[in-house]
Amino acid sequence: MKTIRNENLREEIYHKELENGINLFYFPKKGFTKKYAIFTANYGSTDNVFLPLGENEPVELPEGIAHFLEHKLFEEPDEDIFQKFSSQGAYVNAYTNFNQTSYLFYSTDNFYQNLELLVKFVQSPYLTEENVEKEKGIIAQEIQMYQDNPKWVVFFNTLKAMYHRHSVRTDIAGTVESIHKITKQDLDTAYRTFYNPGNMVLFVVGDLDGDEVIRTVENAGKEYPTTLDRVERIVADEPDEILLKSIEERMMTSKPLFNIGVKDRDLGLTGKEAVKKDIITNMILDMLFTSSSEFYNELYSEGLVDSSFGAYYTGKRTYGHSLIAGQSDKPQEVYNRIMAMFKKPERYLTQEAFSRIKKKEVGGFLTGFNSIEFIANNLTDLYFQDFLLIDYLDVLNEITFEDIITRFESHFTEEKSVISIIWPEMESGNN
C-alpha cells in the first residue's frame, strides 16, 4: 500500500491497486462519525460514442444512456438495494454528470458490510427488457422536472450556443424521446465497457481501519477476465469558434435570467497543468465577478445585477468554458459591459485583488476539508484528471499574478463569448 502525505494540510491518503483491478484510495478522517465511500465509473453523458470492449467498430448510443444505467444498477433479481442499505443503516445514492457516474453511501455503523454491498451491486447488473421499460416513466419525470427549471434551461442553452458538435451540449439525462430508444442491449454494451475496473475508482473516507477496508474490497470485488486501461472514446471534432452569439427562450420565470459562456480552446491538459489552469481561471472569475470586485459593485449599484450574479470555470480534456450567470432586466446591457471590460480589465485585475483572492481560496479549501463528502467528491473528480486533491494547496501557492494575466488574455475574448437568455412569460394562473 502506498502512502501519500501532505504536510501543510496534515492529511494523508493510502492507495492500492487490488488484484481484482479495483483502484482503491482510503483517506482517514479521525474523529468523524460518518464514513463515506464513493465508487465511480469514468463514464458520463459526454461518452456516448465509443469503442465497445473487444470490438473494433465504434458505436453511438442514445443520449442519456449513462444516467439510465445509473438508475438501473440499483435493480437486483432477489433484493431491493435501497432497502438493503437502509437495513444496514446506510444512506445510498448515485449521480451522473458530464464525465462520471458515481455510486455512494454513508453510514455511521456497519461500514464494512455496506462497502461490500456497494462493490457487489455496482459490479452485478441485472437488466431485463421489462425493468428497462419500467424505468422510462421515472426518468421521463426527472427530465420534465428539469425542463421546468429555468436555471437548468438557460445553462444548457449556453452549451448549445457554444458547442457545434461536442456531446457536452446534450442534456445529461437525455430527452424523453432519446430515453425511449434505449434498449437492454445498449445498456449491456455500455456496462461491459465502462464498468470495467480499469475504468473505475473507489474512494473511502472516514475513521476506519485501512487494512480492513482493503480486505473488504478485495473480497467483494469480482474477477474480470480483462481489465482495460482506457476506453476509446470518439470525440466529435469541435471547432474553436462558437456556434451562436446568442440564444433566447421564453419560460415561466419572474425576471430575465442569463448565462454568458466563454468557450475555452486551451485544451488537452492533464494532471497538474489542468488543475492549475482550472484554479487560475476560477481566480480570475473571482477577481471580476464576486461581491469583493469593483466591477461587480458597479453593475450592482446600477441595479443591473443582484446578489445572484457570479461565475465559475469548468474544464476537462476535451472541452472547457467559463460561465457568468445572473438575472437582470437588461441582460444585453450586462453582456455589453462585460465585453467592454474584457478589453480593458486593468482596473479590476490587480495584484492586490490577486493576493486577496488567493487567501480566500486557501481558507475555502481548508474549510472544505471539514466535510467528508467534499473530500471524496473532489478526490474523485480530480483523480480522473490525474491529480490528487491533497496537493491542491501546493499548486494554488505556485500561481503567480503573471499566470493570471496570461490566461486572461488568451481566454476572455468577445469572439469566444455567447449569451443565453430566458425571458419571462408571465401568466396569471387562477390564484
Partner: protein, 428 residues
C-alpha cells in the same frame, strides 16, 4: 461532543462546543422573532442591508475584501422561518490559524463580526438611503423569484392555503406590497427593537482558542430590560375536509402537494411515533411511497413526505404527469391506510430507526449542523442529549406508530396543473 450553556445577560445566552475535529471555527448568533406579517418583510430586508457595510467598512466592497483577507472568512446573514418564529441569523466561519499559518486572526474576525451586527453603516442616524433603495428592489425580485423553483413554490402554496389564519401561513420571504413603505428610519428603528428585545443565542463550535466570545456583544446590550420571548406555536388538530386547490401554469410537470395535520406536539412522547411513521410512509427510498408510487408504478421521480415539527404537519410532495393526478392520489391514500392498519414490517421499523439514527449521528461531523442542533434544542425547550433522543426513538413500538399515523388527517390537496388542460372526472 459536550456543549455548555451559560446565561450572560437577560435573554442572552452563550453555547459552547469545543472540538479539534474541524479545520475551521463556526460562530452563530441567532435572534428570535415572531413570524408576523407586521415585521416579516422588515426582517427579510435586514440581512440584505446589513451586508452592505459597517462603520469601518462602509461598502460591500470594503467589507468583502476584508473578509477575503481573513482567509475567506465566511459571513452569512439570513432570515428564515422556524415554526411560527422568524430567525435572524448571523454566522461566521473561518479557517483555524493552525492551518493557514497565520494564527492570531481570531480577534480580528470577532471584531469584524461584532461590527457587522452592532455597528452597521449609517447615514444621519438611519440606514443609507441608497443601499436601502437598492436592496428594496432586490427584495422584490427575490420575492417574485419564488416561482422559479416550482417544487418549493408548490409546497409554500399548500401551506398558505392550509394554514390560512395561522401565523405559519405567512410567507417567510416577505411581501412585495409591504416593501415600498419601508424607509431608512422605519428599518433602523425596527433593527434597534430586534437588538434590544429579542432573545439572542450565541452558538460556537470549534477549536478552544481562548476567544473572548462574549466580547462580540457590546456592554449596553448585556442587560436589556424588555426581552420578549416568542411563545410556543398552537397546534390545530382539526382538518378541513379535503380542501382542494389548483393553480394553472405553463409547466411541463404537475406538482402535487398534500398537507396533513397530525396534531401531536413535539413535547408528547407519541411524537417519536410520528417521526418514525413518517419515515416509513414517505421518508426515504425505502418508504412505502417511494416503493409504490415510483418503483412499482413509475409515476414520479421524486415522492416524499416530511414533518413540520413545530406545527405537527406532514407535507407530502410528488412531481407527476398531469393526467396521473388521480392515480397518484389514490396510491398515496392507500399507502396511508396501510400505515394506519399496521401493514408495515418489523424490518421497515428497524430501517426507519436506523435511518433516523444515522442522520442524527452525522450531525456532529459538521459545525453548521452542530450549531443548528444546539439552537433547535433551545427553541423547542429540549434538554435531552443527542444520545437520549436516539435512545427514545429506539424504544418506539409498532403500536406507537399506528396510533400516531392514525392521527394524520388530510387537510389540503394542492396541485400545480398545466394550462388549459381538460380536467377529467375526478371524484374524491
Amino acid at each position: 461532543m459536550e456543549s455548555t450553556r451559560k446565561e450572560i445577560g437577560n435573554g442572552l445566552n452563550i453555547n459552547l462546543t469545543y472540538t479539534d475535529k474541524f479545520k475551521s471555527n463556526y460562530l452563530g448568533v441567532y435572534m428570535i422573532r415572531p413570524l408576523d406579517r407586521a415585521e416579516v418583510t422588515l426582517n427579510s430586508l435586514l440581512p440584505m442591508v446589513l451586508e452592505r457595510g459597517t462603520k469601518n467598512h462602509p461598502s460591500t466592497l470594503s467589507l468583502k475584501r476584508r473578509l477575503e483577507e481573513l482567509f475567506g472568512a465566511n459571513l452569512r446573514i439570513s432570515a428564515s422561518r422556524r415554526g411560527e418564529r422568524q430567525i435572524i441569523k448571523f454566522s461566521m466561519e473561518w479557517a483555524d490559524g493552525r492551518y493557514t499559518g497565520e494564527e492570531g486572526l481570531d480577534s480580528d474576525i470577532l471584531q469584524m463580526f461584532r461590527e457587522v451586527i452592532f455597528d452597521p453603516y449609517m447615514e444621519d442616524g438611519s440606514f443609507s438611503r441608497e443601499y436601502l433603495e437598492q436592496e428594496k428592489n432586490n427584495l422584490i425580485t427575490r420575492i417574485n423569484n419564488k416561482i422559479n423553483d416550482k417544487r418549493t413554490y408548490a409546497i409554500n402554496r399548500c401551506i398558505e392555503e392550509m394554514c390560512k389564519g395561522e401565523k405559519f401561513s405567512i410567507y417567510p420571504g416577505g411581501y412585495q406590497e409591504d416593501v415600498p413603505q419601508i424607509d431608512g428610519k422605519i428599518l433602523y428603528d425596527h433593527y434597534r427593537k430586534v437588538l434590544s428585545t429579542s432573545q439572542i443565542e450565541i452558538v460556537y463550535t470549534g477549536h478552544d482558542n481562548n476567544l473572548n466570545l462574549e466580547g462580540i456583544i457590546p456592554e449596553e446590550f448585556m442587560d436589556r430590560e424588555a426581552v420578549t420571548f416568542v411563545p410556543r406555536e398552537t397546534i390545530v388538530e382539526k382538518s378541513q375536509n379535503r380542501n382542494q386547490v389548483r393553480d394553472r401554469m405553463s409547466v411541463a410537470q404537475g406538482k402535487l402537494v398534500l398537507g396533513y395535520r397530525a396534531g401531536i406536539p413535539y413535547e408528547d412522547k407519541l411524537y417519536n411515533g410520528l417521526l418514525l411513521g413518517n419515515e416509513i410512509f414517505g421518508g426515504g427510498p425505502n418508504s412505502i411511497l417511494f416503493r409504490n408510487v415510483r418503483e412499482k408504478h413509475s409515476l414520479a421521480y421524486y415522492v416524499s413526505s416530511s414533518i413540520v415539527k413545530h406545527k405537527s404537519l406532514v407535507l407530502l410532495d410528488a412531481g407527476i404527469e398531469f393526467q396521473n393526478y388521480q392515480k397518484t392520489l389514490d396510491l398515496i391514500n392507500e399507502g396511508l391506510r396501510e400505515m394506519v392498519m399496521g401493514n408495515f414490517s418489523d424490518e421497515d421499523m428497524e430501517i426507519a430507526k436506523k435511518s433516523v439514527r444515522t442522520s442524527s449521528e452525522s450531525i456532529i461531523d459538521s459545525p453548521q449542523l452542530m450549531s443548528e442542533f444546539v439552537f433547535g434544542k433551545i427553541i423547542s425547550n429540549d434538554q435531552r442529549s443527542l444520545e437520549e433522543m436516539i435512545q427514545e426513538l429506539e424504544e418506539v413500538t409498532r403500536e406507537d406508530i399506528i396510533k400516531a399515523m392514525g392521527k394524520v388527517n388530510l387537510d389540503t390537496i394542492y396541485f400545480m396543473d398545466g394550462l388549459d388542460r381538460e380536467v377529467e372526472h375526478e371524484n374524491n
